[in-house]
Symmetry: C2
Subunit: 440 residues, 2 copies
């Protein structure tokens, strides 16, 4: 099940071509001739979990500061040049990845590559720009704190991976964000932006050879030494119940999930679809349709390189919580008793059609292929993904369910009227799971 | 500038084909042979502003109840049948439109049409399903009240169109939502869902003749009499400052905009892009980039059939508000003094590229064409849209700006730390606008 196996030499799917620069950076293109546009970007295998405790929030700060001016372009030049041609650029930071991407018409691909290369090679990280941007990020943090849903997910991850980089909020704290000087950003960039963990991915109306030629002259200066993978993180489970005057309690319950390369990664993805991925899913049908206990309920499974997180999100009012929690937990218990073939088939059909439709968007394609290269070392065709999904059986999912919700100590995070939200040990009791995690 | 002129017989763009059923319902397809999927839906020219005061929230309730079972499908059947083939269905309600749509693989288009037709023709509106769904909507309302951004936009529209249907929240209030019986939903449906204001729009891998053939047998029962347009609404302007313990104040400032058919509709759209549509826009550059006064700032222009709303949204902390407001207002004033050609060109390039890229998504196409038919009576090609944009001059935009921000009484809505947010008359003073609107 190790997808990065070098022996796997299946033909590449679609019109995908892959090249590697001398410094190890991967250049991948996925040509869609019928389009008038392209989506492209740089994906870097470095994110918030690669930060030292002193660097908390610097991956995200770098993502912001990359747009604040280079030795040949001011911040305004960057914005004006890309928007003059109707394009746009943006960026995103996650725990394990940082990405910088652009959407442009086909003739503007060279401009987009030039700008993305410029901001990663030649950013000035000017002190007065930094001071302004630190203030902007403090406001971004403030806005997130005003959003109960943002808060509950931050708290959820925080207690699921207690005292570890993977549990920290990606934006950092006002104190850490305010503490950074330009040199700290430069150090993080130099430590983590190396060819072997960088991918330039372009989908749409693009020419592979031209993209590679441009990339050679513009990304050749990045280091060629592989970077050290981040310290391993361990799921701890935990509890965060925050009382706040809100109409609805935001509740996220979670369990240890599966890493990308784990045997049960795909099974966990399918299980989250089956339990809470659509209107026909067990949780939606039971909690919302049969009992009318909430507006929003869904399940999710997040894979990381060395661990995972399986979760269920629900938002509901105080009076419904005592009814909602037992209905939710009963569904988790029942999944360990039986998974029907028709449910498995439907979950697979949803994932399969979703993959097919996502192929119609160049932005989805570029991101998907970039992540596959960073995680598995190569692009993976939908056929191959479907083979893996088709190998799953209902019994395998049932077996996974019987373990997933009982083998690890649960995580519970909630904000709002939380007096009826059970604590971690109460949930563990109800599920027959351990109440505290064994020492690592 | 009246795009619905019957004399306009330009060739239809792309692979678009339009047919009309005997009852006046329009069937439009936009064939994209290279896709494996399709997006399709029913768009109805009826929304929250078509409700009587006693019906407040019923358009949105109908949108929910349409999925709760027909005489041949239970709510679960609807969800299971569409998700069995990996598709999904959803719906949305706005002030002037309600839509029900599906994304499916190409072979499942007949199933999707059959389900959409079934839920609009044969829904049972069962009493016990209704009771459950009313409770679900109360929770949806509660969740929106917990989101400061949702609240500020509801309040903004509420005071901009004071005491009129266009100003009311689309979801209704807990009291009105709880008051409805099945017969009220049926009455609203029968009053407003008539062929002449319904469009079936399908984009992607679809066959026009097959779609029309299916539609004939499945949508023929809807009435053929044109419905009465809703009562005309008038922009009033107004003020809603709500003090709340939040990190950031959410602020929306607004002015009377332009109706879809108005002479300055396109100019207003371009102006909103130029002032606050991207990273190079005046407001983003001045407020965020030069002064670092917020994380989020953008302008928008919403057209309605008889009026419009031009607005600016910003979120910022208490201490920055006294600096932010004058910077914002100064930008509005300066736009009335000069608009540069390069700014106009860039805004046009952004809109043009955005249109081109939206053509790559079948869901965008289906929605765009449906709305064009409901508003203008026919699909409008991008070439034609660009002709209209290209006819605009910098002087015309400057002239519009000199009027837009001073001819109407302003609207201001804010929630959070609002003590430094100026009131309506203070803003009017600073802009040289009237402080109260003339009697209609």
């Amino acid at each position: 099940m190790n997808l990065s196996s070098a022996e796997d030499v299946r033909a590449l799917p679609r019109n995908i071509r892959v090249s590697t620069l001398a410094n190890g950076m991967t250049i991948v293109t996925d040509r869609m001739d019928h389009l008038e546009s392209a989506a492209l970007g740089i994906w870097v295998k470095a994110g918030s979990r690669d930060e030292t405790p002193q660097e908390h929030g610097i991956a995200h700060l770098l993502e912001h500061m990359a747009f604040k001016g280079t030795n040949s372009r001011t911040a305004r030049d960057i914005a004006v040049q890309i928007e003059n041609v109707g394009g746009d650029v943006n960026a995103a930071t996650s725990a394990e990845t940082t990405s910088f991407y652009a959407r442009v018409l086909k003739n503007d691909v060279p401009l987009a590559i030039d700008i993305l290369a410029d901001i990663l090679n030649n950013s000035l990280f000017d002190e007065s720009e930094l001071a302004r941007e630190q203030h902007v990020i403090l406001q971004e943090i403030g806005a997130a704190q005003d959003s109960p849903e943002d808060v509950v997910f931050d708290n959820f991850q925080n207690v699921a991976f207690a005292n570890q980089p993977l549990g920290r909020p990606i934006m950092g704290t006002p104190t850490t964000v305010s503490s950074f000087k330009p040199k700290h950003i430069r150090t993080y960039l130099e430590d983590h932006y190396h060819g072997p963990n960088m991918v330039l991915s372009a989908s749409g109306n693009v020419d592979h050879d031209e993209v590679v030629k441009m990339a050679e002259t513009r990304f050749g200066a990045f280091g060629s030494t592989p970077t050290r993978p981040p310290e391993e993180c361990f799921y701890t489970g935990g509890e965060s119940l925050v009382s706040k005057d809100l109409m609805e309690a935001q509740i996220v319950m979670g369990f240890e999930g599966r890493a990308y390369h784990a045997r049960d990664f795909y099974a966990s993805q399918v299980l989250s679809t089956l339990l809470g991925g659509g209107m026909s899913s067990r949780l939606f049908q039971e909690v919302r349709e049969k009992h009318g206990l909430c507006y929003s309920i869904y399940a999710f499974h997040w894979g990381f390189s060395d661990t995972g997180l399986f979760g269920i999100h629900a938002a509901t009012e105080d009076a419904d919580i005592p009814k909602l929690i037992p209905v939710m937990l009963e569904q988790l218990r029942l999944a360990g008793e039986e998974i029907r073939q028709d449910e498995l088939d439907r979950a697979r059909a949803q994932i399969s059609a979703g993959l097919m439709m996502s192929l119609e968007s160049p932005a989805s394609r570029a991101g998907q292929i970039a992540r596959q290269i960073l995680l598995f070392g190569r692009p993976i065709s939908n056929e191959e993904l479907m083979e893996r999904l088709n190998a799953l059986t209902a019994e395998r999912l049932r077996d996974l369910s019987s373990r997933l919700f009982t083998e690890s100590v649960p995580t519970i995070a909630a904000i709002g009227p939380v007096s009826h939200v059970p604590g971690q040990s109460e949930i563990a009791d109800m599920l027959g799971a351990p109440a505290t995690i064994a020492a690592q």
